[in-house]
Amino acid sequence: MHQSNNCQQFSELITGYLDGELTQQDSQRVSLHLQSCETCKSSFEELQAMQKLIKQSKYQNMDESQLEHIVNDLTSKKLELISWVAIVSGFVFVLVLAGYEFWIDTSLSGFEKFTVGLLIAGGVGLFLSVLRQRLKNRKNDKYKGVKL
């Protein structure tokens, strides 16, 4: 079937239109063209019918036992994260509490408090800077190491 040059420019766009992936402007252009061109309208309807049939295709499911095994493993990763958050939160709370107790302890001189405070602040600062660097690397290294 012969397609005019005008139709050819809509050829690919019809696919995008079918998938709802066009800009509003392109979508309107295609919509108007489909109203006036029987050939492209028919092509669109065929793609639509084909898509519907593919969507309804039946493929065998994964074995229930294996599915359960994999999902449980993946869920345990979620629990791992929650556990880490709990541990870190608890640790931070204890640190804050210890810092407060230390600060209000009247048996220590101001100089002792200042020196120990400086050491703790340095340690925490160093830890945070390493943590920040690690997180930054992890973010920028999203797919590295995945065996392709």
Partner: protein
């Protein structure tokens, strides 16, 4: 069992099956992919939105590894079949026939891997163009043209059936 995770895992298994065509291999691929998802430090969290395309990408890459190993991929080295842009039109009634679903499935299996994967990712798994681009590691702008060529190729595969 987390239903979202179960759905993603089940979908990923079907993707592997659509690519390698062998259930036993698809099971192995899923096992490997799950190990990567659990051990890879940069794996998105299973309940995050980015997990599905990431997991599909791992499954797709593992499927290609598997196909290369057994040298069974008819599409290797993944050169796209040249398909005329203007495909003749199939009579609508054929596409409405119940048997057509089987024909389409068979025609899909005959397509080269590169065309089959993009069609199933969109039409069966319902991924957005952005997610397809992430899974296939291609620019988002290439998805529509590649998908269009793949759909034209599928229509072309269906033509002999239509003409019967």
């Amino acid at each position: 069992m987390g239903s979202v995770l179960a759905d993603i895992t089940q979908g990923a298994f079907k993707l592997a099956l659509q690519l390698v065509k062998q259930p036993a291999e698809a099971h192995d691929i899923l096992q490997d992919a799950a190990i990567i998802a659990l051990s890879h430090p940069a794996a998105p969290h299973p309940n995050s939105g980015g997990f599905k395309p990431w997991f599909y990408k791992v499954v797709r890459n593992k499927s290609i590894d598997s196909l290369r190993k057994v040298k069974r991929s008819e599409g290797e080295p993944f050169i796209e079949e040249v398909v005329p842009d203007q495909v003749q039109h199939c009579p609508q009634r054929i596409l409405e026939n119940a048997q057509t679903q089987q024909y389409i499935k068979a025609a899909l299996e005959e397509l080269p891997l590169q065309q089959r994967e993009i069609i199933v990712l969109k039409d069966f798994h319902g991924l957005s163009y952005q997610d397809i681009a992430n899974v296939l590691d291609i620019p988002k702008g290439s998805v529509m043209s590649r998908l269009h060529r793949a759909r034209c190729a599928l229509k072309l595969k269906l033509m002999p059936i239509v003409e019967e």
